[in-house]
């Protein structure tokens, strides 16, 4: 039977949201191959949320534990995952295209000597072969690729593979394993000052551009984000990142992050081609801009023409009422 290995992510013993997306993508491949999904989690100890994975289509969930897996341990994880992929005779290995997955997938692919399709937005099985859609030129074009090597290694863009309920047995097992000592050691993790949600993974992104006029005015957007009750992150255009108003980690666009949130609100952003490239796969786009001819209105589903310093606080007030 064709088997698909879903490599999941946890942080501090809690499964990350992308993990259910990875199981969902892996399930799609396994269905096409008439096979099964084995989910794999590397952690320091037991992981919360494991029991949910059967619901998304995992046939088995294996947790391999070692103290080294408490933080990113790229070298040890590479070996353990590659050994597992080889020993299990997997047809495909699926990662998340997150900071961790994007780092591990190429190492595992190189170790196994096979190709990797990174950051894909769709997966399928056609004529027995794994095919993917991989956005290139920052989403200005879509590359359709066929993976001809086995295992086919792919990483999935966060927020694109909407988890679907596909109940499977989801039998769970936890095994302590030895881990090779790595030369690369994460000694500490500094939490980001902006909060815990990353623009690449937040279901709602509110981005600001030069229309905000000065860095302190991003407070207006942070208040709106807060009104969404921890589901929104604040992003930024390249212009304001280059001006030093916002950290690079918040930049959306071709030289920043590519985002696909459920709701993207562009505030005071004209919509340069390199910005549009980074957010055009958002499910719904709202633009708030005082210039009615701004290119952002061409891609926005809903536009409001007006002074953002009047429109955004009003919106914040109404969202607060909704969530109040």
């Amino acid at each position: 039977m064709s088997k698909v290995l879903a490599v999941l992510e946890q942080r501090e013993g809690a499964l990350r949201k992308v993990s259910s997306e990875v199981v969902t993508g892996a399930r799609r491949l396994a269905d096409g191959l008439a096979g099964r999904v084995d989910a794999l989690v590397l952690a320091a100890g037991s992981v919360q949320g494991i029991d949910q994975l059967g619901g998304f289509g995992a046939d088995t969930v294996l947790t391999l534990t070692n103290d080294a897996f408490g933080r990113d341990a790229p070298e040890a994880c590479t070996r353990v995952i590659a050994d597992r992929a080889k020993a299990g005779g997997y047809r495909a290995v699926v990662f998340a295209a997150s900071a961790t997955g994007r780092d591990l997938a190429p190492r595992v692919a190189a170790r196994l000597g096979v190709a990797l399709a990174q950051d894909v937005t769709d997966v399928a099985v056609e004529g027995g072969a794994v095919t993917v859609i991989h956005p290139v030129y920052a989403g200005k074009a879509l590359l359709k690729l066929k993976l001809t090597a086995t295992p086919a290694i792919v990483s999935l863009r966060p927020n694109v593979f909407t988890p679907v309920q596909r109940p499977k047995a989801g039998s769970a097992e936890t095994v302590a394993v030895p881990a090779p000592t790595g030369r690369v050691v994460v000694t500490a993790i500094k939490p980001a000052t902006a909060g815990t949600l990353d623009v690449a993974e937040a279901p709602i992104v509110i981005s600001g551009g030069r229309g905000l006029k000065e860095p302190a005015n991003f407070k207006v957007l942070e208040e709106l984000a807060a009104a969404f009750g921890g589901r929104a992150a604040v992003g930024a255009s390249r212009a304001v990142v280059d001006a030093g108003w916002r950290p690079h980690a918040d930049q959306v666009g071709q030289t920043g992050k590519t985002v696909s949130p459920t709701l993207y609100i562009a505030v005071g952003i004209s919509g340069a081609i390199q910005h549009l490239a980074g957010m055009r796969t958002s499910k719904v786009i709202v633009a708030i801009n005082k210039d009615k001819d701004a290119p952002i209105f061409k891609v926005a589903d809903y536009g409001v023409v007006g002074d953002l310093f009047e429109v955004v606080p009003r919106l914040t007030e109404e969202i607060r009422k909704l969530h109040g």
């Binding site: 295209a97 950051d119 030129y137 690729l145 993976l147 030289t255 709701l263 009047e310 009003r314 909704l322």
Partner: protein
Amino acid sequence: MKIAVCIKRVPDSETRVKIASDGKSLDEAGVKFILNPYDEFAVEEALRRKEQAGAGEVVIVSVGPAAAQETIRTALAMGADRGVLLQTDTIPADGLEIARALAAEVRDSGYDLILFGKMAIDDYNHQVGPMVAELLDLPCVTAIAHLEIGGGKGTAEREIEGGVEIVDFPLPAVLTAEKGLNEPRYPALKGIMAAKKKPLEVKPASLGAGGLEVLALTPPPQRKEGRVVGEGPAAVLELLRLLREEAKVL
């Protein structure tokens, strides 16, 4: 401090993508090519490390067409010492093939650091750097936003979702650069003149076909025409109604 920087010639980020008649590649007519922006951070970092060490060599290595010589010259104009072009007319979609060619070139050459941009802005592959590290069995940190080197080891900062990892590693190592690592210098006229005389070795790249077959390159689906809901704060209620009832995202 001997440093290799692996770079790529890519279409400028303002490029309007037109698909070639084969339906599988970019129509390059009229396209302006540049040094991949993430690679600029890698070149800058290499130059600073060499300057800090007071001695050393910065070698630029690229896999690309003959025209990539100009891209290498850009890095030489910034201050790198010499370049190597592994020339090929076609770049395979499979990053592992590129990684193998680069690994063969930099292997056993005594490099303390092998630097890359974290990704190329054309193929968005995010993979060649860590693949080279794996092939050479070198420690590797990807997407670094800060770097300190001293006493045969280094400390880097790496952005993860909602935080920053502090990562220690020994040299030699492979690192990939995130934006924010530094502010790349512009080549000065003197540097541009000097770059013309710097050694640039061109040799054929040895590349396999790889395990990724391109089936098609297509434009992204057009977003359906949007609409302006209204003007000013008065439009907010209608906007919310549409988000709730029509788009169903609230």
